[in-house]
């Protein structure tokens, strides 16, 4: 541990925002880490944990950008620790890591994301059609396959301003991750349900103002706004807000 602020090409200044449960503000602690070519930020955090502060808490698993465990905020921007190379960050500044701000802290960089799993349970599950043979073409599953790429890192939930700056919105807003999951189900050619009413009334999709930060931070490059949220909004328009259709249907 060091308070040094000198610039050294061989030393990385790693600043970790640390704290216990209930300490949302936390405290910045600086570590000096040997720079290694090609290292990612997770390497630096694990070096600090292994050599300087054994009780530094960080959640990680695959270190290959596929498990989504090491989601955090690097220099204030939501990213995966294992997919962010140190050499891609400004060399003249310390690298600062803080936990995801939308979720409460358990310890240091580990946050409580259990709310997401509760929200997930509310989505009407896959319901197979019984009137169709189970055969389909690749073109029928392309859209669903994109949604299935999600690794549940919850970076999109973290950056979404609807719940990031007002956590009280969580009970009435499912968040981008679950708009993606719902789209994946709705796009399945053998699924019998239409989840537009769920998206409008329980998932609160109309609270989204399509500012696209979820798409910007997605490590799987899922086009969340274009391919999940906007098509859902358009379906809701069809079913609930189109006065011409309402007049035709007589409802």
């Amino acid at each position: 541990m060091s308070d040094s602020t000198t610039t050294d090409e061989k030393v990385l200044q790693l600043v970790v925002n640390r704290g216990e449960a209930g300490d949302e503000r936390g405290q910045d602690v600086t570590y000096e880490i040997p720079r290694v070519k090609g290292m990612v930020v997770l390497d630096a955090v694990l070096y600090a944990q292994g050599h300087q502060d054994q009780d530094l808490a960080v959640r990680w698993n695959c270190k290959a950008g596929k498990c989504g465990s090491c989601a955090a905020e690097i220099n204030g921007y939501p990213r995966l620790l294992c997919k962010t190379r140190v050499e891609d960050l400004p060399a003249d500044k310390p690298v600062r890591v803080q936990p995801m701000q939308t979720f409460t802290r358990i310890k240091d960089l580990v946050t409580d994301v259990s709310w997401n799993y509760e929200m997930n349970k509310q989505i009407p599950p896959f319901t197979p059609r019984e009137d169709k043979e189970w055969r389909w073409q690749q073109r029928d599953v392309e859209r669903a396959q994109e949604m299935r790429k999600c690794i549940e890192c919850f970076l999109c939930q973290d950056v979404c301003h609807v719940i990031r700056y007002q956590r009280s919105n969580k009970p009435k807003f499912a968040g981008p991750r679950f708009f993606v999951r719902t789209a994946g189900l709705d796009y399945h050619p053998m699924d019998a349900l239409d989840r537009a009413e769920f998206l409008k009334k329980e998932a609160g999709i109309e609270m989204c103002n399509v500012t696209r930060c979820c798409t910007d931070v997605c490590p799987e490059h899922i086009q969340i706004t274009d391919n999940a949220i906007i098509p859902a909004k358009e379906r809701i328009v069809d079913q609930f807000h189109d006065p011409v259709k309402k007049a035709v249907k007589g409802t």
Binding site: G76, K132, Y187, E206, N209, D226, R235
Partner: protein, 258 residues
């Protein structure tokens, strides 16, 4: 400990602490919303002036896209003809999914950028008031915009007609490029994409699935480029108007290519 506290003040900007624009980001996040705000304000100022001035909107075979179709209502000649036209593109762009992102970020700071705090308020998003009607309004303006676009293509083709003789001037090229850019913008519209390929669980299961799938793929290519075409077409319209205006005012001479 003192040093750590100093560093906290330097770096830490936690969420939900009141003011807008608080962030722990260390990059120049403010550049994009600033450029968007400046770009939109410049266009709004120019287009408002050009629409209200009511003169110099046609020269030779050319007509400014701000004034096409040219509508003159008897008894209301004192109103600039552009007023009867511009509400269509204004409504289309104002309700566009891309422009919504742009002005929510640049003007309303909701949020100003990703992971940058917004004004503390009881957030309703697009459930609030008239905002819930934006998607359906956008769809109606799409239909109207396609009609206006057809007229702009007619103007571009008519720009080859120099007193009954085929010709190509720089203005012909300007109006053609303008119509093409507006076409790429209009046909990349998210509402159009949903109309051709949305509400469809299975492209292969019903009648016309091939047509819908192929149409959806083509529109999807343009949709991915929607922000680029939004900006290029916005400024190309202004450039086309300015070019015709300078010709009509006698400031420029139209170079003939053919």
């Amino acid at each position: 400990m003192q040093d750590l506290q100093t560093r906290n003040q330097t770096f830490v900007a936690h969420v939900g602490e009141g003011a807008a624009g608080r962030t722990a980001r260390t990059d120049d996040w403010w550049v994009e919303p600033t450029l968007v705000a400046v770009g939109l304000v410049i266009f709004i100022i120019y287009s408002t002036w050009a629409a209200l001035v009511g003169n110099n909107y046609a020269s030779g075979p050319y007509i400014s896209p701000f004034y096409s179709p040219l509508i003159k209502i008897p008894g209301l000649e004192w109103i600039s003809p552009a007023i009867f036209v511009l509400w269509v593109p204004l409504g289309f762009r104002g309700s566009c999914y891309y422009y919504r992102k742009a002005y929510y970020r640049a003007f309303f700071w909701s949020p100003p950028a990703c992971a940058v705090s917004e004004r503390p308020k009881e957030y309703q998003g697009e459930r609030a008031g008239v905002l819930r009607w934006l998607p359906i309004v956008h769809r109606w303006f799409l239909y109207l915009s396609i009609i206006v676009l057809a007229i702009l293509w007619y103007d571009a083709i008519r720009a080859f007609d120099f007193d009954g003789h085929f010709g190509i001037g720089l203005g012909t090229i300007v109006l053609l490029v303008n119509a093409a850019m507006l076409t790429f913008f209009t046909f990349g519209c998210h509402a159009l994409r949903s109309l051709v390929g949305g509400n469809q669980k299975c492209f292969s299961c019903g009648m016309g699935g091939d047509i819908r799938y192929n149409s959806w793929k083509i529109v999807s290519v343009l949709t991915r480029q929607h922000p680029m075409w939004a900006w290029l077409s916005l400024y190309m319209v202004a450039i086309a108007d300015l070019y015709v205006r300078l010709l009509a005012a006698g400031v420029l001479q139209d170079p003939r290519i053919f």
